[in-house]
Amino acid sequence: MENWSLVSICVLFGLTARWAVSLNSYSGAGKPPMFGDYEAQRHWQEVTYNLPVHEWYFNTTDNNLNYWGLDYPPLTAYHSLLCAHVAKLINPDWVELHASRGHESYGHKLFMRATVLVADLLIYIPAVVLYSFYLSEGSNKKKVCTVLCILLYPGLILIDYGHFQYNSISLGLALWGVVVLGLGWDVLGSLAFVLSLNYKQMELYHSLPFFCYLLGKCFKQGLAGRGLFLLVKIAVTVLVTFALCWLPFLSDPGQILQVVHRLFPVGRGLFEDKVANTWCSLNVLIKIKTILSTDTQLYFSLTTTLLAILPSSIKLLMKPTLWQFKLALVNSSLAFFLFSFQVHEKSILLPAFMLPLFLKDGLLVPYVVTSLAFLFFSIYLLSAFEHCSEDKLRLGPYRRLLICMPRMDLGRVTKWKFYFSITAMAGLSFMSVALAPPDQLPDLFPLLVSVFSYLHFLGLLLYFNIVQIAEPLQSVRKNQKKSN
């Protein structure tokens, strides 16, 4: 069968899975007075539609920032405004100032879910298709399988179509950035990424790789000539795009400061709730939240984050290839997640580790089904277990590190570790749902989940860093088939 029909079938299947999940509940459904993220998005439509731009990020009589105040960059606000205009056409009650608070209805849910689907269809899904076909290796069949597996990724589906968010827009734009950079159009790629950054500040997690990759390319082309020209072009693009996105706020420095203040809530402390990063896990042993002052916490986390991201960034600067870029993206986002300030569990978008969140939202069944389906299809279609040899997993450096240990097949070790992890995750999931925690330790299960997850993330960070750093600076000429 031709590619276009196979891809269309995969996309249709992905869309069906998404809409089927959206038939379930959303965050904060039926839970006054605050409700949840769904209400937050609806509230932003109300605010952006009814209030003038300079009031969006400020605490006024009409705009109470304590009730889901805007805390994403301007593009989110513009997107909410667009949705609000559509909402007004269908049913003005949905965005009525003050009166529409906590509005929940069948029609409104359909509308909100539809906005997520449209955004996904226009931005994220085309990027996935293009990425699989232009930037991944393998036969055409393999690329179609890649499309399917990426589209079935449960984390994004459950958060966007269940809990309710618009991650597909920011992730989609970032992915467009990667695709376009991979095709060699550096200026357009940086444009796409800047747009993505201006949609959700969480994309800062990916900013260093983009920066280092492009800077590295400029260095490679020689700062005396073409490299400098490229640098200037990119810099101008970035600045102009930023300016255009922030245009309504540029007239007054106070506006800019306030928006930044909303985007980076440094007053809120090192972490909230149970999240699988270093600080939360460390807090189990040493109560750092109480020992250190907020400012110290801030500097400490900033320093450790930068230290964690440093090796990967330097390597990318020295060797700006696409493969290094992809690795750096993983390393950077992991490092930021693990060490930065005020991280939310949703930032990781990894489903098993957001289990407590899904339980709260009433999304247990979709979580189980999509996770199982994703695991099954990835393993079956992408033949994961057959590629579990040492060579394929790039475990060469480990072999050199563990030279003192007895000879063992690291590929098999990895495979068994995977089985163990999956079993442990299933066990933890089951316990969280079926058992009640002991009275002295009411947060036992969320804590176990987050510490367990943390250890995995740390392991992944180390693994990917080693893989990225260990790659030789100059590829051996004979090895032309080495993937890029």
């Binding site: 031709e2 029909s5 249709l12 299947f13 869309l15 089927a20 299809f377 079956y380 033949s383």
Partner: protein, 437 residues
């Protein structure tokens, strides 16, 4: 790896297809369900809580037991599992009881009993004629058949959204057909009898079974020109058959409209495939002319016809016409706004797949321009009925118009397919005798 050239005996793709559609079914657990959900809950309650003598008398609920006894026993066995999910659903007085555990149980019961259907599809795929010549996996007839059956749009939305147990029942039907294709006629007859005792609507295709079994099983040899050799009649076989299928024999002279078709397999049997063709014609005929027919009955023609569609070019053309029109006619079953994207997406998925895979298999276009135009017209009908009309002023005064338009438009396609199918069956008279049986 599945993507390398598969060996003929490498069937690892089959569980993948089956598991994939099962995941899809699981994710539809919380979708809209119709009153049929309450019907089956009521039957669970009746069979569990009341003595057998009261089952067909109980009428607290308006949805009294109106399936044959074997189905009642099926519900009875389900009810033993149900009590571990939520005991309250088994109380007859709890009308329209829809706790989350009840929904989960009932939905899961449909998904799990579909295993009969999955097994039957596997058996049908094994019986499909294989063409020589290296094809990649996706181009093999048995792969296409498996996909067309396991992922059938009509079955998905009727069973797993609207709510029914058709997968389980059609599984038995397809298994019976597969047994006949494999020459295991007694088993096929047994399965069909079981099916009749589960849901009496299958009486419509009883004539095909009756005549075929009488002609091809009880008469052990044909004359050289294919006509009946009366001397080869085997009383032993007849008794064997009769002892299993008494009801089939008694009803084998059913609806007169099926007479010419049924007669044709008496005069010139074309073996199991001729029987299958006749079965489809009977099913479709009963759909067109029967009493109190449900739109879901179109599945009785579509599902068995899939087997013929992957083996012959002409059948594939008729199949595309019949399924697209037939499946579209099921749209009014799901009238809620939330389920609109699901039914459109699944319809597109199935239609796209059936068209592209069959076109690739038979190398070339299967429909003439008129047929294609008609099918494209379905898009216009859909937009008209579900988008334009509800926004027009007539929605309140004449609310039935979309249903009317859908029914009339689809009836054209279904009738056309019926006629073409009938003609193809009669035309097989006098054509080459060396066709494989």
């Amino acid at each position: 790896s599945v993507m390398a050239t598969p060996r003929a005996d490498d069937w690892s793709w089959f569980p993948a297809l089956a598991l994939g559609v099962s995941f899809l079914k699981c994710i539809l657990i919380n979708a809209y369900h119709s009153t049929d959900f309450e019907v089956h809950r009521n039957w669970l309650a009746i069979t569990h809580s009341l003595p057998v003598s009261k089952w067909y008398h109980e009428n607290t609920s308006e949805w009294t037991l109106d399936y044959p006894p074997l189905f009642a026993w099926f519900e009875y066995s389900l009810s033993h599992v149900a009590q571990h999910f939520d005991k309250e659903m088994l109380v007859v007085q709890n009308l329209i009881y829809t706790s989350p555990a009840t929904i989960l149980f009932q939905r899961l019961s449909v998904i799990v009993t579909d295993i009969v259907f999955i097994y039957a599809v596997k058996e049908c795929c094994r019986s499909v004629r294989e063409e020589k010549g290296s094809k990649d996996l996706l181009g093999h007839p048995f792969f296409i058949l498996a996909a067309l059956l396991l992922w059938n749009f009509g079955l998905l939305i009727v069973d797993h959204i609207h709510f029914q147990y058709n997968g389980f029942l059609f599984g038995i039907l397809l298994l019976s057909v597969a047994r006949h294709l494999q020459g295991r006629h007694l088993e096929g007859a047994l399965l069909f009898t079981v099916l009749l005792n589960l849901k009496h609507i299958y009486l419509y295709i009883a004539p095909a079974y009756g005549i075929f079994l009488l002609r091809s099983y009880c008469f052990t040899k044909d004359n050289t020109d294919g006509s009946v050799r009366w001397s080869s009649f085997s009383p032993v076989r007849l008794v064997a058959l009769g002892s299993i299928v008494i009801s089939v024999g008694a009803l084998s002279f059913g609806p007169f409209i099926a007479m010419p078709a049924v007669l044709s397999i008496w005069c010139r049997p074309r073996g199991a495939r001729g029987f299958l063709r006749c079965l489809v014609v009977c099913a479709l005929g009963s759909f067109m002319f029967g009493w109190h027919v449900h739109e879901k009955a179109i599945l009785m023609a579509i599902l068995p016809f899939s087997i013929l569609a992957v083996e012959s070019r002409e059948d594939a053309g008729i199949f595309l016409m019949l399924t697209t029109t037939g499946h579209y006619s099921l749209f009014p079953l799901l009238f809620t706004a939330a389920e609109l994207p699901i039914k459109v997406l699944l319809m597109l998925l199935f239609t796209l797949y059936s068209f592209t895979s069959l076109k690739k298999l038979f190398r070339g276009s299967l429909l003439n321009p008129l047929e294609t135009t008609y099918l494209l017209g379905l898009v216009a009908v859909e937009i008209l009925c579900e988008v334009v009309y509800p926004l027009s002023p007539w929605q309140h005064t004449l609310p039935f118009v979309p249903l009317l338009v859908t029914s009339v438009y689809c009836s054209l396609g279904v009738s056309y397919s019926f006629i073409r199918l009938y003609v193809s069956l009669l035309r097989q008279h006098g054509t080459d005798k060396h066709k494989q049986l």
